[in-house]
Symmetry: C2
Amino acid sequence: MNLEELCQHAHEVRLSVGMLDADVKNKVLEDAADALLEQEAEILAANAQDVENGRANHMPEALVDRLSLDHDRLEAMADGLRQIAGLDDPIGEVMSMKKRPNGLIIGKRRVPLGVIGMIFEARPNVTSDAFGLCFKTGNCVILKGGKDAIYSNIAIVKALKQALQKNGVTEYALNLIEATDRETTERFMKMNQYVDLLIPRGGQGLIQSVVNNATIPVIETGTGNCHIYVDQAADLSMAADIIRNAKTQRIGVCNACESIVVHKAVAKEFLPMLYRALEDKEVELRVDPAAEACLDQNLPLVHPATEEDWGKEYLDYILSVKVVEDIDEAIAHINRYNTSHSDAIITKDYDRAQKFLNEIDSACVYVNASTRFSDGNEFGFGAEIGISTQKLHARGPMGLEALTSYKYIIYGNGQIRK
Amino acid sequence: MNLEELCQHAHEVRLSVGMLDADVKNKVLEDAADALLEQEAEILAANAQDVENGRANHMPEALVDRLSLDHDRLEAMADGLRQIAGLDDPIGEVMSMKKRPNGLIIGKRRVPLGVIGMIFEARPNVTSDAFGLCFKTGNCVILKGGKDAIYSNIAIVKALKQALQKNGVTEYALNLIEATDRETTERFMKMNQYVDLLIPRGGQGLIQSVVNNATIPVIETGTGNCHIYVDQAADLSMAADIIRNAKTQRIGVCNACESIVVHKAVAKEFLPMLYRALEDKEVELRVDPAAEACLDQNLPLVHPATEEDWGKEYLDYILSVKVVEDIDEAIAHINRYNTSHSDAIITKDYDRAQKFLNEIDSACVYVNASTRFSDGNEFGFGAEIGISTQKLHARGPMGLEALTSYKYIIYGNGQIRK
């Protein structure tokens, strides 16, 4: 089947998939979890083939690790599907209903988006996650995974499709684009006639390519250059704890802290505390001259920052550190260099806490908490598709509702317009 | 100032515009209404120049009419701004706030989108409407109007900017791209670094060009091939009244009815009624063979339909008419040929009313009412930016809320992630 036919099939069955009852959808998700485990041997064999090819192509070990599946990881994928089955179905909810002066009753009902495309790199777990989230919300999904995980993806999709078949649901609810060439990917991005939303998940290069080339509406799930501002009225020990958590609890995630901004009045006391709090984790500080002056000379983990450091998402044991004159300078600096993902202030001062919440232009703005909480599960959504760094449709952590649209249903009794 | 500088200026001031209090914004809108009327002479002179150029370039009279301003139309534009001033300000509303088990309090606060671009054709009233709606919601706006209305737009923007200046608000809250060449328009569509949303308003060609070329997220406001299905359990006299209203109350609007689908059991009784109901308006019926068989031969306004008729938005005194076997055929036909705008069923049958509401994939689905109600004012939004025919972000009539995003504000007291 060629790409256009595949997209067209998904488009044609979207309405029947969108009308499935929650009971049926949950049963499919439970069966899909079982199928993954029943077909463990085939899936792990396919994955071993991908890993072997990756090693032969000198794939970096960190990527090999992301690509590799084993029994525990497959179990985690199955658990993910079961967890999604347990969530409330958002489809069909009437978000509001009002009677107009002319007697028309106008309701706003939550419906699926239709067909969702996902373009992602070599993480096979995204395949089952994306299916689970899209199917739960009554959407058809078209997956375009990385070339490096193609055997794994084919095996996983085969197992998931058996669950659809077992429950009499069209197999076009789940579609994998098996061609892995660049040209197919670029043609896929322009299938706006059939696909309602495209979500790229991966590095900056992938996301930029999708934003620049897609005619399908895109949700950008982006990088996080997250800042923490230590105000002059901060509880400094709380600030050190929060920064240690936000930087080191998990490296390599988009809600990890990358940049510290400190008010000059507390820099001399705080920066040595911060250094000690991060020392055992060997976190390097890239500091501006004012911050450098607050730290002992010759500390091994302190280096001067360059202009480039302010805008960097390190995803590593590195923090940039800037000292500012006041909160206005802090806010201007953060709004200039952040990626509108998550930023925090540590303070006991009421006015400055409010000012920071009002003036920082990010999806998530915190007072006295770690930026690591920017996550669908931590926000209570029960699941997460990604974290949007754009303002249209969905911003910040995206739960099931981000995969829905609405339609107006209007009950009349003969009204005509005057 | 070049295009990039203009977009950058708007981006830079977006946060200060976004934080203006409603009192200030409303005062600017009232003053802008006054300024339009105070500068009536200049605006009408500039408009006369556009009209003269249009006539010299053989602009069709319908377009000349859309382009032309006079005292009454300027008054209507001013009234539009005053009406927007009177609406509630949606910015700052906390849409939800919950306490998480770890004590974090997570609120979702409505904020402006930032910078909104509008690309539109030769209707000068869009200039003040777009400014009013975007400014009320704390957004900066960049307008790219049609070449044919350039003198009018410059004069209108000049008046509106005086209201900003008078109230000490940055003039970059409102920006007009004065260059009218195609290349500037295409570069503008790719300014996603500075512009958060692009709304094209105009014909299908303009909208397709924006969808295909923009890297800025787009909301498609599209064409309406609206259907009315006359069920076998319809009140036929109600059906005729509603169709007459939906077709003829205003021709040339996207929520006008273009296509009638009739159940075979009532076609013989209903179609002659429909013909008579539309006869004085000289509405031509383009009919399939089954419908033709229900009408007297040689009626002057009946012609056979071709395949092309089913997908057509006539914007004229023409209706396509199809007879179907049952509601399933009706729904399949409508979902195939509609533009997902507005469709209606006329019936007294409960099950089929529900089925139609559930299965038709449109922004607005009606039972026993005219499709002409698909409109922001009729829906009680107080204003309308357009009618979205896409599913992302906003669907159907868009009020002020469609021009907003949200951010999460999180109150903690030292929480770190475990």
